[in-house]
């Protein structure tokens, strides 16, 4: 269990740096920073699930993609208000998480990994088959507006909106992990049989955790759809889920704030490599394998001072 008894300076500084990106006046960088925050948000939700809950889901992208599609489909039907898009995205992702989690959490271990993977693929195929919403080609959307005068089309405005959401979510997640619910969830992660014999209905607690993580992912998805003004079925597929897990392990599992650094690192690496080669995975693949084999604690552990 991580202790935040002292405010850790280096991660906070790094976050402040990210927050100051628009000051540089480079729209490309602002956009990149927004993307980092959005992926940091969905990776944070995955950290709640994996790092704190011990539920290794290989289908988290499904909720991310669903949130994105919710925004896109609403836009397709002429509804552009963020006041509608946000709750609908969260509701859609939560509903899916309730069903998928409800079934998957009856299993554990490898079964759970495979089943979450399978269900996410199912949603991917459905998105593919729904040609009315673009099918394989995806769907374009117009960015949402908060109130008629403040539209998200201004990249700086949008960046700060996303930053606000990110910080609020971080605060909520932080309190969650230290709450009674958080303690139970981590106990179930450590030793489910013992938790049950203490009196906890482990299925129910894990399901609530699963749905909460799904809801946050849906929120991030809605923001992503707004950033790119486009959604496609690829947002739902297992490669996307795998990418999220990679951001998690790069950043540090069980740290909440680590994932945003993992997202920054992964997205940066992909950008840089794609400038030099069309086959970035030839390099990244083995690098990732090495990270898996030899890392402990990810970037977060590197940033934290030695004494813990």
């Amino acid at each position: 269990m991580l202790r935040f008894d002292r405010v850790s300076t280096v991660p906070v500084l790094a976050l402040v740096l990210i927050a100051m990106t628009p000051v540089l006046g480079q729209p490309y960088l602002t956009r990149f920073a927004t993307s980092v925050l959005i992926f940091g948000l969905v990776a944070m939700s995955l950290d709640l699930l994996v790092g704190y809950g011990g539920m290794i889901s290989f289908g988290h992208a499904a909720f991310f993609g669903l949130g994105a599609y919710a925004a896109a489909v609403l836009g397709f039907h002429g509804i552009h208000s963020a006041f509608v898009a946000v709750p609908v995205a969260i509701a859609a992702a939560s509903a899916a998480a309730l069903v998928i989690g409800g079934i998957s959490l009856r299993t554990s271990g490898v079964y759970f990994i495979m089943i979450t993977l399978a269900f996410a693929e199912m949603l991917f195929y459905i998105a593919h088959a729904l040609t009315i919403y673009g099918g394989d080609d995806g769907l374009k959307i117009v960015r949402n507006s908060l109130i008629p005068l403040i539209s998200f089309s201004n990249p700086t405005t949008f960046f700060f909106a996303v930053l606000l959401v990110f910080l609020a979510t971080f605060l909520l997640s932080f309190r969650l992990t230290r709450s009674r619910f958080g303690r139970v969830l981590q106990g179930i992660r450590d030793n489910p049989q013992r938790a049950e014999s203490l009196g906890y209905d482990t299925y129910r607690y894990q399901l609530v955790g699963f749905v909460m993580a799904g809801a946050l992912a849906g929120l991030a998805g809605m923001l992503h759809a707004n950033l790119n003004e486009y959604v496609s079925p690829d947002l739902l597929n297992w490669v996307q889920s795998g990418d999220l897990l990679i951001m998690l392990i790069l950043g540090g599992v069980g740290t909440l704030i680590g994932p945003v650094f993992g997202a920054a690192a992964y997205l940066s690496l992909q950008e840089i490599l794609s400038m030099y080669t069309g086959h970035s995975m030839l390099v990244l693949g083995p690098v990732l394998l090495l990270v898996v084999l030899f890392s402990s604690g990810g970037i977060y552990a590197l940033l934290m001072p030695r004494a813990q």
């Binding site: 269990m1 309190r175 969650l176 230290r178 709450s179 009674r180 619910f181 958080g182 303690r183 139970v184 981590q186 106990g187 450590d190 030793n191 049989q193 013992r194 938790a195 049950e196 014999s197 203490l198 009196g199 906890y200 209905d201 482990t202 607690y205 609530v208």
Partner: protein, 257 residues
């Protein structure tokens, strides 16, 4: 006679052709230490598993605190005050000792679907956790990470966790396993003190511990209960001698595992 706290009636469990428990009757009174003994393979572990709710019986019923619990899941039984400690240490390794016990206490302080307030701030939980740790003598090591503690301390932590929920009955599966003489005696003294607060159903192989602690003893052999009664009666029982005790006499003799 009032209803016993725990009443096992005609409990039977089959595994295919093997009958692990055969029509077992067992009663544990409140504020009693009841020992369950018998040779290896007699069905003690199976019986405990059924009482805890991990295994469902093929036949028979279990009553606890006036309610039939035969079909209740393990967590529901724990919520009723039926606690257990495990033979193989089963704790929360990444938690501190305090957090382990606090989690146990928390289970009996209402539901835990509370998402905002810090768990460490709940007075009731903290009080119970501190008290349980003090009872087993681990209060000095509250902040130690559970995974780093010694085996003996793990056994004490197990018991603290079982206590923290202020249970009515604790199922203890070989609590002295792997302990040296001094540690065992410390544990026996602890269990004796606990008798006021809760009943204990104790599976044990160490006969010294059994005869110095138990108010009553039940003997299992080949899945059946062959004798049940106060220690003197059991010691003198011919069937029990033949099946299990052999030439056991009072006095220091049996070596500890």
């Amino acid at each position: 006679m009032s209803e016993p706290l725990l009443h096992v009636r005609g409990l039977t469990r089959r595994f295919g052709g093997l009958v692990a428990n055969d029509n077992v009757d067992l009663a544990v009174e409140a504020a009693e230490i009841h020992a369950l003994i018998g040779p290896n393979g007699a069905g003690k572990t199976t019986l405990i598993a059924q009482i805890a709710g991990q295994l469902s019986p093929s036949d028979g019923a279990i009553w606890f605190d006036g309610r039939e619990i035969t079909a209740l899941k393990p967590h529901a039984r724990a919520a009723m005050g039926l606690s257990r400690s495990f033979q193989v240490t089963s704790i929360f390794p990444t938690f501190s000792a305090f957090e382990n016990v606090a989690l146990a206490a928390q289970a009996r302080c209402g539901h835990s679907f509370r998402f905002w307030a810090p768990a460490r701030g709940v007075e009731e939980i903290n009080r119970r956790a501190v008290s349980a740790l003090a009872q087993v003598g681990l209060d000095g090591k509250a902040e130690a990470k559970a995974a780093d503690m010694s085996h003996g301390d793990h056994r004490l932590l197990e018991i603290a966790m079982a206590l923290a929920g202020q249970p009515k009955l604790i199922l203890m599966d070989e609590p002295t396993a792997g302990m040296g003489t001094a540690e065992s005696q410390h544990l026996v003294a602890l269990l004796r003190r606990l008798r006021q607060d809760c009943a204990i159903l104790l599976v044990e192989h160490d006969m010294d511990v059994v005869f110095s602690l138990a108010d009553r003893i039940t003997v299992l052999d080949n899945g059946r209960s062959i004798a049940s009664g106060p220690p003197q009666a059991i010691r003198g029982d011919e069937r029990v001698r033949a099946a299990y005790l052999g030439s056991y006499r009072t006095g220091p003799s049996v070596d500890h595992a």
